[in-house]
């Protein structure tokens, strides 16, 4: 619970010491473990996710070393299959969701002028159960083959199609660890989603009407609704899988008449919206960063909100575009083709609105903006390859090929990870009180862009040349050798970029320039507090009269509030 002794109603801004007196390390640990402060929980989510980013990145590197040449025997087939399963599962559930929830936790209350989330204790519970999920998933390396087994990990691909996950084909416990980890993670996600929705709709400060909520909280609320609708079936089907495995139920057990397609539907009813769960926060970051560094208000705010909500809705009706080859009727295929293509309308609106925001602005190319611009390009390409994949009759060729792997990494890395980097450069000063180093930031950015394109541009081509995904080796006579070599090199360049970034984070924490409350000359409420903000965020509850309260304060001659 929030500290009851903060000064209320003094009418002054309180500045706090950057390093308040710290207790012994035990007290510090105790403090973090028991905290219910949204900012500390946010930081813990982000830190937790960054650790797993390194782990899953390492797994990706192992995959790429194995595929660097045909008939390589660097990894055994078993290890390879475990690596891509763990890489995919980790990246989606232990990196993507937690880091985005982390930013949501940190920023949403600050941006709407609240002192904490609606349910601080639920918030802490969500974090701890999610991190338990991560622990459990990785414990499978030790406990997979039995409690004192020789070590193993799930090898069922991140979508875990039935009936490969049934006892008959996945004996041992790795699949159980996987299912329970996803289940626990799902509980945490749903808790956070409820919390974010309640916070955005009930905790706004005075004057913040629905049409004045900054875009980031808006998008987080949309994303949270998606989590509620999408993660519930995922959690349900994990329970069904465990029933199959332990109590002899036959949901997905085809040997006893169960259905493999049922799992596919359950999984993708989650799996597709999940992409939007991950990408909406990335959009949200872009919505905050691009205007500030272009020095213009976001273009078409109502359209941006409507488009985001529209994306959320449409994304619930497109899941079977992952199943064009599974044997649906031609009518079913046509339906899901059309619904998938429809997503590109709101997405297009968003992209053009970003463009219009830049248009006529005065762009400053600091690191957050560099990443955001790369995001714009990469997002356009990801969207276009997405449209190609929605063309069901062509999808029969592309599905489960490296073209798909390239496409979804354009979304996951090119859009989401790039925007996460942008967000870290942008909000690091707020969170730590120190700036990240710009020179290192530039190195990070350029190596990342180059590495990204070398890896994932090129990865489309083995797909077009018939290379399926999830194969641990390939024949030398298919024309894939050089392409795979280049892709692997690109992976290493990205790895170097990320190491520079990690170094920058650690180094700047101790040596970085002091940030001050508002280093980017920005307009939303989080920049009105000290950096880092005090426990209670705002000494007096702020009151706003427009979407950009700090603009109004900085430009009394031309306030936004005059237009509303």
């Amino acid at each position: 619970m929030a500290d009851q002794s903060y000064p209320v109603g003094q009418g002054v801004e309180v500045t706090v010491e950057r390093s308040p007196a710290r207790g012994t390390w035990l007290e510090v640990v105790h403090d973090w473990i028991t905290t219910v402060d949204h900012k500390k929980l946010g930081i813990m989510y982000i830190a937790y996710a960054l650790v797993f980013l390194l782990v899953a990145g390492f797994e990706a590197m192992l995959i790429r070393i194995q595929l660097i040449k045909p008939h390589n025997d660097f990894l055994s087939p078993y290890t390879f299959n475990r690596m891509f399963t763990m890489h995919g599962t980790t990246m989606v559930f232990l990196v993507g969701m937690p880091i985005l929830f982390g930013f949501g936790n940190y920023l949403v209350p600050l941006m709407i002028g609240a002192r904490d989330m609606a349910f601080p204790r639920l918030n802490a519970f969500s974090f701890w159960i999610s991190s338990f999920a991560g622990l459990l998933l990785y414990y499978s390396f030790i406990g997979g083959v039995g409690l004192s087994g020789t070590g193993s990990a799930p090898d069922i691909a991140w979508f875990a199609y039935a009936p490969l996950t049934e006892k008959a084909f996945s004996p041992g416990h790795t699949t159980d660890y996987w299912a329970i980890a996803i289940l626990a993670n799902g509980i945490g996600s749903i808790g956070t989603a409820i919390n974010i929705i309640a916070t955005v709709f009930c905790m706004r400060c005075k004057g913040m009407t629905l049409s004045r909520i900054p875009l980031l909280p808006w998008l987080y609320a949309t994303m949270s609704f998606l989590v509620l609708v999408a993660v519930s079936p995922l959690t349900a089907c994990q329970a069904m899988l465990l029933l199959d495995r332990y109590l002899g139920a036959h949901f997905f057990d085809t040997q006893a008449g169960g259905s493999a397609i049922l799992w596919a539907h359950f999984f993708w009813i989650f799996g597709h919206p999940e992409v939007y769960v991950l990408v909406l926060p990335a959009f949200a970051f872009a919505n905050e960063i691009i205007p500030v560094f272009s020095r213009k208000a976001i273009f078409g705010y109502p359209a941006m909100v409507a488009a985001s909500v529209g994306i959320g809705f449409i994304s619930l009706g497109v899941w079977a575009h992952h199943m064009f080859t599974i044997g649906m009727t031609s009518f079913g295929n046509a339906f899901f083709t059309l619904s998938t293509m429809l997503v590109s309308i709101p997405t297009g609106i968003k992209t053009f609105n970003w463009l219009a925001t830049i248009w006529g602005g005065k762009i400053r190319f600091e690191t957050p903006m560099l990443f955001s611009i790369a995001f714009l390009f990469q997002w356009v390409i990801a969207g276009l390859t997405g449209i190609m994949l929605s063309v069901s009759a062509w999808n029969w060729q592309l599905h489960n090929s490296y073209f798909v792997v390239a496409h979804f990494h354009y979304v996951l890395v090119g859009a989401i990870v790039f925007m996460i980097f942008a967000a870290i450069y942008y909000w690091y000063p707020k969170i730590t009180g120190r700036m990240l180093d710009e020179t290192l930031g530039n190195w990070h950015f350029w190596l990342m862009v180059i590495g990204f394109h070398v890896t994932f541009d090129v990865m489309h081509f083995p797909g077009l040349l018939g290379m399926p995904r999830q194969i641990y080796t390939y024949e030398p006579d298919r024309g894939w050798n050089t392409l795979n070599f280049i892709v692997s090199i690109g992976g290493f360049i990205q790895a170097i970029a990320i190491l520079i970034f990690v170094y920058n984070m650690v180094h700047s924490y101790f040596r970085g320039d002091d940030a001050g409350p508002d280093p980017w000359d920005a307009w939303t409420l989080e920049w009105a507090t000290a950096s880092p903000p005090p426990v209670y965020n705002f000494a007096i509850e702020p009151e706003v009269a427009s979407r950009r309260p700090l603009w109004d304060r900085k430009h009394p001659e031309d306030p936004d509030s005059a237009f509303e």
Partner: protein, 378 residues
């Protein structure tokens, strides 16, 4: 950053060059479904390229044009939106989507709902961890791993219609030059058709992760001239009869294996049949096909494998009746040479770690005998 799409078109343009050197390119179609998918692909690629060039150049232009000048601290004019502009970039995408969707639907329905002509060849494809089983119900033939079908020239079309199902987990049949992939699911039958217009061997592989050896579940489709195909089918049938007689002469034991292949369901349990009737020791230790067959029939080999006309009628592993007519072992894991065959029998896991055939732990002489026998299965 436009590298993503332009080379796709380059590749598309060089499709003919790609044919020889890139055996699995989707830009070198050889069958009607693959060709229609390919044409659609080119159409979609063009649209995507145009959109990319449009948006990409707008973006590039605005980044270059609207950079902040140094020492200019004034804020640009604040623009909040414009209904007309936003309507225009809502309506234009709707039109583009209409075009894309109609183009897709045309190919979708024409490929997926094509009528089966009377002369079509029927093939039942059954996916197994990690190999392929093919049945030809019209000819009462069972084959494995290498699919033979007749060519289907435009002048005398002879398409192949496949029913696909799986004996265990999900798999997916994908030979890019002949058509898009279709999944194989247990308890369910999917359909697809191909009509390759030129003879040759087309490669592909399983495209749905199916376990440790998913990577080595390769596909070879041999598209034969009508004469070759008839000869192949004849051979498949003739040898069955021949082997049946040879078997009678060889061991003169009751022969439960000599039954119609077409009627065995995919999951039928291995038959243990008349193992006990066969003498437990080979009569002499010479390394020859005859002794090889005896060893083969004494061991668990026959629980999983079938050799038409003998007591071996297992259905768990590939049918070996015409093993030597195949170019590869283990669904593409190795070339089918006597040396590889011997090594495979000694321990299949050296070629395909995780494959479901166990090492039989026989002595060298027995392995050699079995190899000698298998070499006669032409």
């Amino acid at each position: 950053m436009c590298r993503a799409i332009a080379p796709a078109l380059v590749i598309a343009g060089c499709a003919s060059a790609a044919r020889a050197s890139l055996p699995a390119s989707i830009f070198a179609p050889h069958s009607t479904p693959a060709r229609e998918e390919h044409q659609l692909a080119i159409f979609v690629l063009w649209i995507a390229l145009l959109i990319f060039l449009g948006v990409g150049s707008l973006l590039t232009y605005s980044i270059l044009k609207f950079r902040a000048r140094p020492n200019d601290d004034t804020e640009p004019p604040q623009v909040f939106g414009s209904l007309q502009i936003e309507l225009s970039w809502t309506i234009i995408p709707i039109l583009i989507i209409a075009v894309l969707f109609l183009g897709t639907a045309r190919v979708l329905f024409s490929v997926q709902d094509a009528k089966k002509p009377a002369n079509a060849l029927d093939v039942v494809v059954i996916g197994h961890q990690f190999w392929w089983e093919y049945r030809y119900p019209q000819y009462n033939v069972v084959a494995a791993n290498e699919l033979h079908i007749p060519v289907s020239p435009a002048s005398a079309p002879h398409p192949t219609f496949m029913k696909l199902t799986s004996a265990d987990v999900m798999h997916s049949f994908w030979v890019p030059q002949l058509g898009g992939k279709t999944d194989l699911l247990p308890n369910r039958v999917n359909e697809m058709w191909i009509d390759p217009q030129s003879p040759g061997v087309y490669v592909g592989q399983c495209a749905q992760f199916c376990g440790p050896q998913h990577a080595k579940m390769l596909l070879r489709v041999s598209v034969d001239t009508p004469e070759e195909f008839n000869a192949w089918i004849k051979n498949q049938q003739r040898t069955q009869a021949e082997l049946a007689q040879a078997q009678v002469a060889l061991a003169s034991v009751p022969n439960p294996g000599n039954q119609s292949k077409g009627s065995v369901p995919p999951n039928s349990p291995p038959t243990h049949g008349a193992v006990a009737v066969v003498p437990t020791e080979a009569p002499d230790n010479a390394i020859n096909a005859h002794n090889g067959q005896i060893v083969f029939e004494q061991q668990a080999c026959i629980n999983c494998h079938a050799v038409a006309g003998t007591m071996a009628n297992g259905r768990y592993g590939p049918d070996l009746t015409h093993l030597m007519s195949r170019a590869t072992l283990g669904s593409g894991a190795a070339q089918n040479t006597p040396g590889n065959l011997l090594a495979w029998i000694a321990d299949p896991n050296t070629f395909k770690p995780g494959c479901l055939m166990p090492a039989m732990h026989l002595n060298d002489r027995q392995n050699a005998q079995i190899t000698a026998y298998l070499l006669t299965l032409k």
